[in-house]
């Protein structure tokens, strides 16, 4: 058992932290605010710098525009992304999901067309999986893609689609064989969102972020936009969805929120009592800190396993489950500690901790379902981890 980082890892961490300290200028922060006011979590100014650093595609082999860096370095980078609250405009879906999907099962032509674009930050993808009637039961999705000569005609609708209003393409899951058992009749397409028949409508969330409903009305796409094998879409999807769950970003987020909470506690006085002297406040904070340190281990264990070429299974779900539930607890407990000031939105003089926790009240519930519900993760731990019978 050894929990030390190597000097190289420490140096990389420092490099990344210094990058964000330097690049999160007033201009950048203002752009982040402006975008957020429009419902977008993005920052083109910062994204440009990140593209230049090469870090967004750091894990890709050099021939694809990457740096050939390890999973571990990616984990270190993601922790900093979480700590500095860097808007994830590009790399979650575009690089992390689509970029990796292309590398694993894209055709040579698709790789040649899209990968350099992705690496240079010149294309944005959105993820088109979820439907009004297909959430956790994703395999039951109904959007149809019907073969028509050399093309496919796509009809159906998707919901909870982030960035569809900003994106160039949608990474779309469709049903191509309705007669087959549900998991065996799905196919993936990369669809140009400017194709006639595509309609994007806003779907706003309470955290102020704009998601979308995307409607497809006999949208004609060429066969070359099929990604991977026909009717093998489910197996492709579940492969790439495994890569997506790293978890160290949460570690950084927890630390940022706990530092914000500690900052408040250190200065606040209520009814004559310094909060920093209140045993209940200290005990609550203490428990959150213990849980956050545990979270760090659960996440870095996954990073370590991947760096050793061991495929994490229950370990990824455990880290994710713990992180998500901890995020709830941090906000819930902080909100209690902040008292009435905690409910005031950022910008008013009564707001505290930069309105972070008011925002989290509207944002944290997403953590319970985004990328799969916590219930599904518990199922994975129970069945694949503990081998409990289905």
């Amino acid at each position: 058992m050894d929990f030390a980082f190597t000097p190289e890892q420490d140096a990389f961490r420092l490099e990344v932290e210094q990058f964000f300290e330097r690049e999160l200028t007033l201009e950048v922060r203002e752009e982040i605010e402006r975008e957020l006011a429009q419902g977008n979590i993005r920052c083109p100014l910062l994204e440009r710098k990140l593209i230049e650093s090469g870090w967004l595609t750091m894990q890709w082999p050099v021939e694809y525009g990457g740096l050939g860096r390890s999973h571990f370095d990616s984990a270190i980078f993601n922790e900093a992304v979480g700590y500095y609250d860097v808007p994830d405009g590009l790399w979650g879906i575009t690089v992390g999901l689509v970029g990796n999907a292309l590398r694993v099962f894209g055709s040579p032509e698709q790789k040649e067309k899209y990968l350099p674009w992705i690496a240079s930050g010149d294309v944005i993808f959105s993820q088109g999986f979820t439907e009004p009637e297909a959430g956790s039961d994703l395999a039951s999705l109904q959007t149809r893609a019907v073969a028509d000569g050399d093309d496919f005609l796509i009809t159906g609708s998707k919901v909870f689609i982030g960035r569809a209003h900003l994106a160039d393409y949608i990474y779309l899951a469709t049903r191509t064989d309705p007669a087959a058992p549900k998991h065996r009749g799905l196919s993936l397409f990369l669809v140009d969102l400017k194709t006639p028949g595509v309609e994007v409508r806003p779907f706003w969330l309470i955290n102020g972020v704009r998601y979308n409903q995307v409607f497809f009305d006999n949208v004609r796409v060429p066969r070359s936009s099929l990604l991977g094998e026909l009717n093998r879409g489910w197996y492709h999807m579940t492969t790439t969805l495994d890569i997506e769950r790293s978890g160290t970003r949460s570690i950084g987020e927890h630390r940022r929120l706990l530092e914000g909470l500690a900052g408040y506690i250190n200065h606040a006085k209520r009814d004559g009592v310094r909060l920093a002297d209140d045993p209940l406040v200290r005990h609550t904070l203490g428990q959150l800190l213990v849980d956050a340190e545990a979270a760090r281990h659960l996440s870095y264990r996954v990073a370590w396993m991947q760096s050793e070429g061991i495929i994490p299974n229950k370990e990824t779900s455990m880290a994710s489950l713990w992180n998500r539930l901890l995020a709830q607890r941090i906000t819930n407990e902080a909100f209690r500690i902040l008292g009435p000031a905690g409910q005031v939105k950022k910008g008013s003089s009564s707001a505290v901790a930069e309105g972070k926790f008011e925002y989290q009240l509207r944002n944290q519930l997403n953590r319970l379902h985004a990328g799969g519900t916590v219930e599904v993760q518990r199922q994975v731990i129970a069945t694949r981890g503990l081998a409990l019978p289905r």
Binding site: M1, T6, A262, H283, L289, L321, Q379, L388, R390
Partner: protein
Amino acid sequence: MRYEFNETQQMIQRTARELFEQQAPLKLVREIETQPHGHIPALWQQLADLGMLGLALPEADGGTGDFLDLAVLAEELGRAIAPAPFISTVVLGSGLIAALGTAEQRERLMGPVLAGSRRLAVALAEPEVVENFDLLAATIDSAGRVSGDKRFVEDAGAADAFLIVGRTDGGDLAIVLVDAQAPGLTVALEPTVAGDRLGALTLDQAQGELLGRPGAVRQALGDALVRARIAHALRTVGMAASALERAVDYAKTRVQFGRPIGTFQALQHRLADLATELEAARFLAYDAAWRVATGQPAAISADAAFVAAAGLGQRLAPESAHIFGGYGVAVENDIQLFYRRLRAAEVRNGVVTGALDRVAGDFLAQQA
């Protein structure tokens, strides 16, 4: 970075597991609950013969290995709920003698302990004091005579000698080694929920042997308690792992309504949460042990490990027992052996509120 054992640690785990399977089967563990001495002499001797009683002690005193090696053994002790006064004797007792004793004392006192012929217990707490040493009422004079009341002494029934912590006239902390048979010492053994007995000591001018110069005791005691807290956290993690395994196995085989109860989502989700919490506690404990082994500050990590381990007592313990339904509280079922020990573990070798306070205080100070 390595989230798994190295070869030495694997070997210690294997050796310990086999040893406990042979020398501390649960049938014997149950029997020992009726014995005031509370341990298995044959097991203790085997641990001595294997060199395990010298783990993480200075080489000069006959010790081997580092604190991570000790951590692995502690976890296995927990898995088997093997009755052995290991933390008391090795981590606390020998640790304090090694840190505070003169060369002559170490030469004379450590040998029999490592050889398995002398067991130790440490008496620190009092009726009104658990963590604030400056409030200890037991008095120790310059001739090594001690008077006072000590409580909650683990392994008192097995101890041949006690390290009593008290204060001098001048208010300095002092430690004196008192033989269990010494005149002026009365030991009452108080049965606990865990099936063992804690010592309530009454000392009236009992004659002992002073350990260490007055100024050196505080630091040495603090360090020893940190290590004991970590070893205790690991032992607790081991107990919890055994308890959870039993609960999971039962869920796979117990059939009701025509199917194993482990197919019901409510149980699957509960067990998934417990398994995750166990992993979290395990790594916090090993992280603290790694810090000790690599000479880093470990006090706050020890507190964090303790809090997480105590959490296992509060949640994993009752929920594991509950998976068995009515059988969870049946004497004949083994799960209750683990449940009762996990509960006691919440309040030994640490106090959750104190630990939480220190963890928070440390962070608030950093952020100030």
